[in-house]
Symmetry: C2
Subunit: 631 residues, 2 copies
């Protein structure tokens, strides 16, 4: 996260509004405020009714835009995942941040944040000389690119200390970001909370392919909670330990340039791109280009990746993101996750700077390959060739009679490890076999937990053989668009927050109708029982046509209740007054313009239905209905 | 779970169908089948596309039936919850099962399951004499009612051993069923995965009441994952370690008999009840009575509890549960959770016996009271009295000048602990104060982690005072209907599974349209490109009107594809043939009757829309459209 905040934005008022209207709150708040509450429970938030509905609506739009529109196969996999799986995926060894301990205070500090914070403080000191200023700025600009030992050197070189107490810190050590637990009564079975939904989708690849009648390409999708045990979370909803993700794994043939059948439908979509070369040159100027041009010029590696960037852009606009505060940034080579071969983030500008909200990575065949190796199960696509073709192949043959006596219980695993060897590996091994008389190959964990086996040439032969092939076999590549729903939700709220010019105390959240928690507020003029039948009738009618409404019959004045519903982002309000009881008419008010019209109850409901379904605009409604002076 | 299985039901074929169509699968299956996979990872399941959609549809019906229909306040709280919270709720100390270890094999066995399994095996032995048979049957019938020491005595008395290896087991020890982890880099911060969504709702009570404009009664609701670290899960989807719950916490004034404003709307609903007295008499005969009678006769304690039992019944019928396999069973006194004062389970009959799928508990004021005591925060409702009334009250006064010097940092906590004392407690304490000169009261954790404080009469006085009250203050009671979505889903699948009489290999899942994963299968007669435009057009039209469809253009015969979609529970199929291309007509088929009609593409889509919206029955469609002979 880089600081490039919008100075006119008043974060304090904004956050006060979100808490006041119960969009969200820190979890276990009554425990936090209780005296003597110790314990590190930052980065955990509960969504109240409007936040919960907003989140559900964003997910709903996401599901329609991606899953339904493209017939994706949605899965719901467990959050609990055994260690073996994350050992294979690389998360046990590599999913870590660098952390420094202050041995005196006992504080744990995230190393990159420590360096960044201290240098920024020094940069704000006017006495700092020009060369140091340049040096510090350079370090801060590249802060995401340093590994643990580099961070350690920076800490030494600049004598960076814990800002609390000014103590020296120990050298950076890796801290794994997965929450660990154990399953069942034996404590010997470690299990983790998933840091992403992706692994469950990869492990089910064969079943998915089968469900899809073996036809390629296809995508799976999952929506659910994931976890990161952050060292010291800050920045509110933007860095949390438990979060909602929506992830797509699009499986594609690696041959033929990873083209996408629907690419032509999006090629004219224009995006603001910040590519790798621009960043390497120390610049941050975006280029606005069509996705067609970007793929053509190889700025974006392939059509499928480009397709999903464009679709992501359209999705973000649909939920109400301000397109002038949205850019796509390419990852630097050393910044990418260990599995990725190209990656672009959709970043949203907030008062905390540019925030990664969607990651769109080309994970290549990494995941399917490693799980296949580890389990000995083939995770491949078999494609019937249009006509049989003669091919020359390296074929490995094992002498089964000798295999059993030599490897006993491991024999089957050795056999499957040999079966999943690629052509280039076989070619390589043949050479070794000829030279050394033995070869060593990787296997799934064997008895005694070894991961390799040595096979003598008396048992294994590798020969070039001619073969008629009817089927082509390949491991698909994976393009993964991964959405952080909470980050999108928070950024969206910043983007659509404003204050009425005539009264700075009157905040408004201009949420689009599609994601607004409640579509219509129903406001009886007072708590007079006279109004109850009309309000109830409207409430029932709206429920029947699937439009969420909420009756606000509190004793506050109508003006106050309009203001409250503006803060909740409710786009429309229907007010029931004495005239309503007489002639069955009500007023319909629109949130952003505060304009009102008067119409019969039935007309008002039809108008709301048209507005929600986007069949009519508010301007058209105002034109054709009887105007009312705003209160 | 008691065994009272449906003998005609073929569980093997049924489960094969669910796996074949990827309703669900064991999680990490490719790792389980890999050799040398050790590790206890039972009770974890992934939902494939149809299971995931079915689950989402059940939750959707639930949300409309409960949350939207009654304006409940939905929350999304974190799964991670710090130890303090569960210490207060009682889960750290009491949320446990009894477990026996076999010291030789290292097996951990759930004590009640061990006794039950062994005695059932002995009961199946024809040589067992009459008295022993009666004794064993009696124990098995009451198996849910024994605590650890009683189970230990049974194991001794009947010489019950581990069926695997026949070894003696150690006495039962409690095993806490919560998954434990730690948060942040310090390992000193224990955190748990919630075993229910309820606590998050209680902790947010004040914010919820505020959001509801301080008006009572109201309900909150949450849908999300919860966890139980079962000792040794069995019974497939019915006993899992990670599961989806949907819970309602209805907050109600304890005075006035917990009446419910909408009770009259459900009082004629008839339920099969199995009450406590019947069970105590060793019977299991249900009584079919209206909910009105049951509340009137005090079989069910109060209107609000009765209201939710009736609403639960209607919900279960709506998603397709067979009402002849549904009963409501009252908990025995010693079977209830530690917080409950009355509890009824909706139980569904499956091949595993009667399964608890919904629990409907009156939790009284337990939760709000304990959290209030622990944190010193008032969790109460303040209700304006219609007119001020003079009341005699016990009032505690603390001498603040002396309080500070004596209790230092704890002074504020002592003050809040005194402030939350009830009238009856104050009356009691006054006596003590007069007799002993000091009183000891419970507090939130103090410095040095004590939970009580002793206050001398030099600082505290308790007097009877007359006071004009304008406000009545009370802690609401909570009625909690709690739904296990996975258990409902599984039981539903058993209830609607059948096999066509003419061909035992043809399985059908008669899922109601409202919850069916896909509403319409679109079947081109063959893979001929001629059909593609028509199929695509239909797919788009259906998507636009929000009806989920799926194109099945695989090369299988139409008959095979009908059979496949019967197994997926898809209620309708539209077939595109050569005639379609010529005259724009298609055939529309209904799953259960296999009857078909021929109509124009537009008519067919309108018919499906009417069927999905329940505006027209299939019988009516058959009447008014042109019949086709079934294939």
């Amino acid at each position: 996260m880089t600081e490039q905040s919008d100075r006119s934005f008043d974060r304090k008022s904004f956050e006060a509004l979100l808490k006041r209207r119960f969009f969200f709150t820190e979890s276990f708040e009554i425990y936090r405020t209780a005296a003597n509450w110790t314990g590190d429970n930052g980065g955990l938030y509960d969504y109240g009714p409007p936040g919960c509905a907003l989140q559900a609506n964003i997910v709903d739009v996401w599901r329609k835009h991606f899953v339904l529109e493209e017939d994706m196969l949605e899965l719901d996999c467990t959050i609990l995942t055994p260690e073996n799986v994350f050992k294979t995926s690389g998360h046990v060894d590599r999913f870590a941040d660098w952390m420094c301990k202050d041995p005196v205070t006992g504080d744990y500090l995230r190393a990159d944040h420590l360096v960044e914070t201290v240098l920024k403080t020094r940069l704000s000191d006017v006495r700092l000389d020009r060369p140091m200023t340049e040096e510090y700025k350079d370090v801060v600009g590249k802060i995401d690119n340093f590994d643990g030992s580099e961070l350690g050197k920076l800490i030494k070189r600049y004598d960076i200390r814990n800002p609390k107490g000014d103590g020296e810190v120990l050298p950076p050590a890796p801290f794994n970001l997965m929450f660990k637990s154990s399953i069942g009564p034996s404590t010997a079975a470690p299990i983790y909370l998933r840091p992403e939904t992706a692994q469950g989708q990869f492990l089910n690849f064969r079943k998915l392919l089968d469900y899809n009648n073996n036809s390629m390409p296809f995508a799976s999708a999952s929506v659910g909670k994931s976890y990161r045990n952050e060292i010291s979370p800050r920045a509110g909803l933007l860095r949390v330990r438990e979060f909602m993700m929506a992830e797509i794994e699009h499986f594609v043939d690696p041959l033929g340039g990873k083209r996408h059948a629907r690419f032509s439908g999006v090629q004219h979509v224009e995006l603001d791109l910040l590519d790798r070369d621009t960043q390497l040159a120390g610049q941050s100027d975006v280029r606005r280009v069509t996705i067609g041009e970007a793929v053509e010029s190889k700025t974006i590696d392939n059509e499928t990746l480009g397709y999903f960037l464009a679709r992501t852009y359209l999705f973000l606009l649909k939920v109400g993101i301000d397109k002038t505060r949205l850019r796509f940034r390419q990852h630097m080579a050393n910044e990418m996750a260990h599995y990725a071969c190209d990656c672009w983030d959709a970043e949203l500008l907030t008062s905390y700077g540019w925030i990664e909200c969607v990651g769109c990575a080309d994970r290549s065949a990494y995941d399917l390959e490693v799980h296949s190796k580890r389990t000995g199960e083939k995770l491949v696509v078999q494609e019937a060739l249009p006509e049989p073709s003669e091919v020359s192949l390296w074929v490995a043959t094992l002498d089964r009679k000798k295999l059993g006596p030599l490897f006993r219980k491991d024999a089957k695993l050795v056999e499957s490890a040999v079966a999943v060897l690629s052509q280039s590996q076989l070619e390589d091994l043949r050479l070794r076999l000829n030279v050394d008389g033995v070869v060593t190959i990787e296997t799934p964990p064997l008895q005694g937990s070894s991961n390799t086996v040595t096979i003598p040439s008396s048992i294994l032969s590798i020969e070039r053989t001619k073969k008629i092939e009817h089927v082509r076999e390949y491991i698909p590549n994976v393009i993964e668009p991964s959405f952080g729903i909470g980050r999108i939700l928070y950024s969206l709220l910043e983007h659509i927050y404003w204050t009425r010019a005539e009264d700075s105390a009157r905040d408004v959240l201009s949420l689009p109708v599609s994601v607004a928690p409640t579509k219509v507020a129903l406001l009886p003029l007072s708590s007079n029982a006279l109004f109850t039948p009309v309000t109830s009738r409207m409430s029932r009618s709206l429920r029947t046509i699937g439009i969420s409404s909420r009756i606000d019959s509190s004793s506050a004045s109508i003006g106050k209740r309009y203001a409250r519903n503006d803060e909740l982002g409710t786009p429309f309000a229907i007010t029931v007054d004495f005239q309503s009881v007489e002639d069955n008419t009500v007023t319909l008010r629109e949130r952003d313009s505060t304009k009102q019209v008067r119409a019969s109850l039935e007309e008002a409901i039809t108008a709301v239905k048209n507005l929600v379904d986007e069949k009519e605009t508010w301007e058209a409604i105002v034109q054709r209905m009887q105007p009312v002076k705003s209160t």
